[in-house]
Each structure stands twice: as structure tokens, then as C-alpha cells.
Amino acid sequence: MLLAVENLHVSYGGIRALKGISFEVEEGKIVALIGANGAGKSTTLRTICGLVRAQSGRIEYKGTVVNKVPPYKIVGMGISMVPEGRRVFTRLTVLENLEMGAYSRGSSQEAKESLANVFKRFPRLQERKSQLAGTLSGGEQQMLAMGRALMSRPQLLLMDEPSMGLAPMLVEEIFSIIREINNSGTTILLVEQNAHMALSVAGSAYVLETGEIALSGPAAEMADNPEVRKCYLGE
């Protein structure tokens, strides 16, 4: 397993956000984590990144327990995050944002290659590279957040609601890019409220409900599950 989360508990003060969840992400796959607003999806990703500390339980990445690793070291281990709400640096240029993504890479040669790859995948970012990121549209900012995360050449990409707030056409585009990124060898843990799209790209999926895993299985099966259809696919 590339990532194994075991019996993870996380609280914010008195609020228990995760109540002992366990799940696995197999190398090379797209794994979807779906659930309603407030279910604990972002908390899960933020705990993996080290931004939030687990109360108990373990997070194992490539056989190493990473629970206590400080967040700035996580990206160097090969885990990169596309945060909820994109969180691009609006007062930095597109190019500077991408450079920040490669901050942990020592050599500038590697950073150059990463940049060329990102520009190939997102030609629009190249056209706008000198523009302040704050002047980009929502879809472009999402692409920048994705490009920025790819700059470190992650083995595991964590994505928190990449389709949030985007027009349907852009959502399609973002998901086809997610598929491409996966095809070129990057494992993806995808958090979505848009269960329909998430299940269409994922190999397996977990449903999170108020801090607990309610269901799990192959994505195709989940999409046929009557309960999932009723609660998350709006049928």
C-alpha cells in the first residue's frame, strides 16, 4: 500500500471530526473519498499533510509512520496537496506560484523540467505566467493549484474538492486532467462532494459520514449502490 490510514481520530477542541477511520490507497490508483459537507473529508487530507495532528491512530506512507512529520517535510516525501478552495498565492505571479510548488526540490534543473511538464499539461498557465494569480478565473486558479502541486513531482496527490464552484464544462475538463495525471503514474486520493464525477474516475471509493467510514468498495459498485445513489447521487 502506498498510504494506509488506521483508526484515525482527530478532534478540534471538543468537536470530534474523525472517529476512527481506516482506509487504504493502492499505488497507481485513484481513490475517492466522498461525503456531505462537514463529514471530515478535508480534515482527513489535512491530517495526512501534517497540518492537523491526529489524536490517535496511524498514517503510514510507504511503510513509514508519518503522523508526527511536520507539514513542510511531507511534500519532500512525495505527498502533495491541492487544497480546498485552491489557495493559490494571489499576490504572486503564476510562475512564482509554480516555483513555490517546487520549493522542496533541490536542483533547479529538476524544477525546470517540472515546469515544462506543467506548462505542457496546462498551456493556459504558460500564457498567463507573468500575471498575478489573483487575476485568474476560478478554473484557471484550480489549474494553477494542480500545476503547483505537480511541481514537486508527487507520488501521491491529495485533491480536496477540485470541482468546487466550477461550471460544468470546466468540471469535465478538470476531471479529464485528473485522469491524465493518474495515467502518467501519480496516485490520487480525491475528495469530492461531486460524487458522480468522483466515482466515474476512481477505482475504489469510501463514503465518509460524520467522521466515520459508512461504506467502501470498488467505485463502480458504489455507483450502483442504492444508498449511495439516494444520498450522494441525488436520486
Binding site: L51, P71, Y72, P83, R87, E99, M100
Partner: protein, 291 residues
């Protein structure tokens, strides 16, 4: 007359700007008003004086020595007095900063033996240049050149170097900067170091300009420079430069207009007026809520 006052105002403003930069950069990164910054400036002035009076070095060596002392001092202050309080209430590091400020004032008074002002030896000649009716003393020229060079150097660092970009990223979004692999603690230390270098230079320059330094000189100048940072828009580097110049000019013109007794009130008055019209300062970023 007008241009003469302008020259005097810009000179004074340049020193406020140097100090204001430290407040604004630190605030931009960790949202702390570093009340001990004025004392770093004061210690810079004392180190400069000691170098010049005791070791008889020239002005530039004195300037570098002041920086060499103030940089580690500021980094140490952050490490000891602020960092352990990073995750506590916002009031805690503020109170800690006040404590450091009082501690340093007292420490210097103790070492010096009394709180009285000391004169600064004339390391720079009293040459005066005339440009039409406007007179520049050599020391004003030195202040303007040194302050400009330091600010250009800062601007280049922040704009083009890796650590400078990391600084800007961290000041906009601390958490996401972490996700990029930026060790935010290094950025914070670097920010304190940069602010201290500028303040140390400011201390030596002001000491020479007014020919008088004392252990409490950081209080008023610190407050005024902090006003300058807020007037320009706290967190904004060009804002601190602009705010410093404006305050310096306002003060000199205010005094020339006969409001000598109200000299110290001018900065605060200007602060209030500008904040009434622009709550985020002249060049401040609109208030963003960080999640």
C-alpha cells in the same frame, strides 16, 4: 524654504521608513506587532556609537557592526519570546513583546549606568552642499543614499530570491506555504533578521543625525514608525516606505508651521485621519480572512 523643509522631511522620513519596514514585514508574516523592534533600533544606535567612539572605526564599519549585533539579537528575541507563544492567544506574544522592550531598555540603562543621552562623535564632516537655495548636509546625503540602497536591496531580495518569494507566500497564506515545503520558521527568522538589519542602520543614522542617543529612544521613534507602517498599510513593504516618508515630511512641516509642541502628535493625527478614509492604509491589501 519649502524645498528645504522637504529635504529635511524626506531625510527624517527615510529613517522612519527603515524602521517601519521591520514592523510591517513581521506583521505580514505572523500578525504580531513587534513592540521590541524600537529597542533593536536603539541597540543599533548604541553599537554604532561604541564602534565609532571606542574603536574609532569609520561610519560604514559602524553600520555593519550594528547590523551584525542586531540581526542575531532579533532572531533570538523571536526564538525565545514569540515562537513558544505562536499557538496561544494573540494577546500573549504582544505582551511578551512589551516585556522584551522594557527588558532591553532597562538592560541598556544598567550597562550604561544612567538613562541620560549620549552625544555621537562627528564621524561625518559637517560639509553642506547647496543646490540653489536648498542646503544638504553631508549627513543628509549619507542618510538618503544608505536608506535608498538598503530599501532597493530589500526590494530585490523580496522580489527575486527564493527566500524572498517564500516570504511573500508565507505572508499571504502561512498554511499553504507549509504545504509547499517552506519551513515557515526559517522564513520568520529571516524576516526578523531583515527587519533588524534595517533598524540597526536606522539607529546609527539617526544617532549621527540628531547627535544624541539614549536607552529610551526606541519608544517614540518605534511608535511613530509603527504608525508609518499602518499609514502605508501594515504588511505592505512599499506601504512602509511611503508611510515613513509621509510621516517624516508631515512632522518637519508641522514643526516649521509652529506646531513644535505637538511634534509627536502629528504622526498619530495623520494616522487617525488616513485610517478614517482608508482603514487598510494607503497601500494595504483589502482585509482577507484566512481560514
Amino acid at each position: 524654504m519649502f524645498f528645504q523643509q522637504l529635504v529635511n522631511g524626506v531625510t527624517l522620513g527615510a529613517t522612519y521608513a527603515l524602521i517601519a519596514l521591520g514592523y510591517t514585514m513581521v506583521y505580514g508574516i505572523i500578525q504580531l506587532i513587534n513592540f521590541a523592534h524600537g529597542e533593536v533600533y536603539m541597540i543599533g544606535a548604541f553599537v554604532g556609537l561604541i564602534m565609532v567612539a571606542v574603536y574609532k572605526v569609520n561610519f560604514f564599519i559602524a553600520l555593519l557592526a550594528a547590523m551584525a549585533v542586531c540581526i542575531p539579537l532579533a532572531v533570538l528575541i523571536e526564538r525565545v519570546a514569540y515562537r513558544p507563544l505562536r499557538n496561544s492567544t494573540r494577546l500573549a506574544p504582544l505582551i511578551s513583546a512589551l516585556g522584551v522592550s522594557i527588558f532591553l531598555q532597562t538592560l541598556v540603562t544598567l550597562i550604561k549606568g544612567d538613562p541620560n543621552p549620549l552625544g555621537f562623535p562627528h564621524v561625518i564632516q559637517d560639509t553642506v552642499y547647496a543646490l540653489g537655495p536648498v542646503k544638504f548636509s553631508l549627513i543628509q546625503v549619507v542618510i538618503l543614499i544608505v536608506a535608498s540602497l538598503l530599501m532597493v536591496f530589500l526590494e530585490i531580495t523580496v522580489k527575486y530570491t527564493k527566500i524572498g518569494k517564500a516570504m511573500r507566500a508565507t505572508s499571504e497564506d502561512y498554511e499553504t506555504a507549509n504545504l509547499m515545503g517552506i519551513n515557515v520558521n526559517h522564513v520568520v527568522s529571516f524576516t526578523f533578521a531583515a527587519g533588524a538589519a534595517l533598524a540597526a542602520a536606522g539607529g546609527v543614522l539617526v544617532g549621527m543625525y540628531f547627535n544624541s542617543i539614549n536607552p529610551f529612544m526606541g519608544v517614540t521613534v518605534g511608535l511613530k514608525s509603527f504608525c508609518a507602517a499602518v499609514v502605508g498599510g501594515i504588511g505592505s513593504i512599499p506601504g512602509a516606505m511611503l508611510g515613513g516618508l509621509l510621516l517624516g515630511i508631515a512632522e518637519v512641516f508641522g514643526v516649521a508651521a509652529g506646531f513644535d509642541t505637538y511634534k509627536e502628535a502629528i504622526s498619530f493625527g495623520l494616522l487617525i485621519i488616513i485610517l478614517l478614509f482608508r482603514p487598510t492604509g494607503l497601500l494595504g491589501h483589502p482585509i482577507q480572512r484566512k481560514v
